[in-house]
């Protein structure tokens, strides 16, 4: 069949296809609710067009025609294979199901991340508690002095200020969001350096938290420090460990790819890792809320400890059990 006849014969479906395509490519709001026109025929038209394109190439029709058909095919391909996203529903499934299940699948790495965070933390805490000089190897003296004054039970300090304003809280909230989640994300990305970056970030965070805690406790500032951190600690520390574990997952793909190529392993693991990071980010947002609005609040220490304990239980229950139930009901 000659090109011109071919074009003439196929013109009606092509026109129809282009009409539908123009509609699909319209504004996103219009895309959501196809009214008036039936889009059901689109896949059929698309397949037809694909066949025509293959024919045109096989028969050596003019390059211009082939290029035009290819453009149409590509635009249709973009629309037809678009992933539909339902943000709210998928967020629900993500929180109750996907995230905890994925984490449990990589429980070994999670424990590793937790270990990398907590072991240096505890060791450093004990060391600093025993020997006051060690902290200066990690944190410079000006910062140490600032920390001391911040948590000094005698002075005015943001941690215990009873008349702290709501807007200050809010500013702190913004800061925590920016700072802490950034740490989490970087811990994840560092995994691409064969897991070293993640491990380093975990260890250094552990060391500095441990050092601060040990130092303040030794100075008898524990009475202000511990109630402050107890509220958000469960969420924040776990989330940092989880995002570190996500980074380790990337590193694992590069160091021990198993039967896959490194690239394939990396892709596979990255898919899970980003789920872990997403969950960790959610937990960090929760931690930021608690830290900004509750930890600095005026409640007595006992209640704060209680809330902290409940938080640990909740986190453990959530990570251990959520999503274990029947699926897809």
């Amino acid at each position: 069949m000659r090109q011109e006849r071919f074009e003439a014969e196929q013109a009606p479906p092509w026109d129809e296809y282009q009409r539908l395509l123009a509609r699909l490519e319209g504004r996103p709001s219009a895309r959501g609710a196809p009214s008036g026109m039936d889009l059901g025929g689109f896949p059929r038209l698309y397949r037809q067009l694909c066949a025509d394109y293959a024919l045109a190439r096989g028969r050596g029709y003019s390059p211009g025609l082939i290029a035009d058909l290819h453009d149409l095919v590509r635009r249709g391909h973009r629309r037809l294979y678009q992933r539909r996203s339902r943000p709210f529903a998928s967020a629900l499934v993500f929180a109750t199901d996907t995230f905890p299940r994925t984490l449990r699948r990589h429980a070994r790495l999670f424990w590793m991340g937790l270990g990398l965070l907590f072991l240096p933390m505890i060791a450093m805490g004990l060391a600093v508690h025993a020997d006051p000089e060690i902290i200066y190897s990690l944190i410079d003296s000006a910062q140490v002095a600032e920390l001391e004054s911040q948590y000094d039970p005698a002075g005015r300090k943001p941690g215990r200020e009873t008349d702290r304003q709501a807007d200050t809280d809010f500013a702190m909230f913004g800061f925590y969001i920016m700072n802490n989640i950034g740490i989490g994300f970087r811990g994840f990305a560092g995994g691409l350096l064969f897991g070293l970056g993640s491990a380093l970030i975990l260890v250094f965070n552990g060391l500095s938290i441990g050092a601060v805690a040990g130092h303040l406790t030794r100075l008898d500032h524990g009475g202000t420090f511990w109630p402050f951190v107890s509220g958000h600690g469960p969420y924040e520390l776990t989330a940092i460990a989880i995002s570190g574990a996500a980074g380790l997952l990337l590193g694992q793909a590069l160091l021990a790819p198993g039967n896959r190529t490194r690239l394939a392993a990396l892709r596979l693991n990255a898919r899970d890792a980003v789920i872990l990071v997403g969950g960790a980010a959610g937990m960090l947002v929760l931690a930021a809320v608690v830290e900004a609005f509750w930890s600095a609040g005026p409640a007595p220490a006992a209640i704060k400890y209680g809330v902290g304990a409940v938080g640990w239980v909740l986190v453990a229950l959530y990570l251990g059990l959520a999503g274990r139930g029947a699926r897809g009901s």
């Binding site: 000659r2 397949r47 050596g60 294979y81 920016m178 950034g182 994300f185 990255a270």
Partner: protein, 232 residues
Amino acid sequence: MPRQIDSIRFNETPEGIDLELRVAGPVPRALALFLDGLVRAGLYLVLIPLSALADTGVGLMLIGFFLLEWFYPVVFEVRAGATPGKRAMGLVVVHDDGTPVGLPASMIRNLLRVVDFLPVFYGVGLVSVLLDHDFRRLGDLAAGTLVLHAERRAPPRTIADTPPVQVPPGFALETQQAILSYAERGPRLSAARRVELAEVLTADGGIRGEAAVRRVEGWASWLARGRGLEAS
């Protein structure tokens, strides 16, 4: 013959056809990045005055900074396929099978930006883009994404209505396509150049000048329409 060098990657779709993905190289991507940097800097400048509104403003500003830092590309890529800078450069982000990029892949490629940024100004990313067959940086490799040149706006094409002349035997399919292409692109070439091109094919037969152009266009017409019987 070894494979010809091309900046195109082919991806076979479920329909069994090869989709051409025109992968974008380092220069347009670098410029897109720079433009995005400008846009982001502008947004930062918009956010900074918030700090005048006491601490509430500072909080909002910091949250804004956070979102800009991490989610600026994700939001644009998932919603529109490309960040404003990429869009200005005519680029678009897709999965490596040519489908529009989704949230997980976009998250991966943009969170891993941190590594591509190392040690300064995307040094690692640049090396990766120069080395990789499809100009992918590390984030792209991990997420399985590509940056492509977006749609091509094709000029209109018509094959002039010259009386068909039968093509002499012995022209390969590629040559026939080149003849058709000549007819399609002819109007955009200078007249002298058209004559010259046509004479390459027809000079052996002693046809020169405008006649050569008419002859080659006649061949094209014959290829597209047949002897004129089919066309009716």
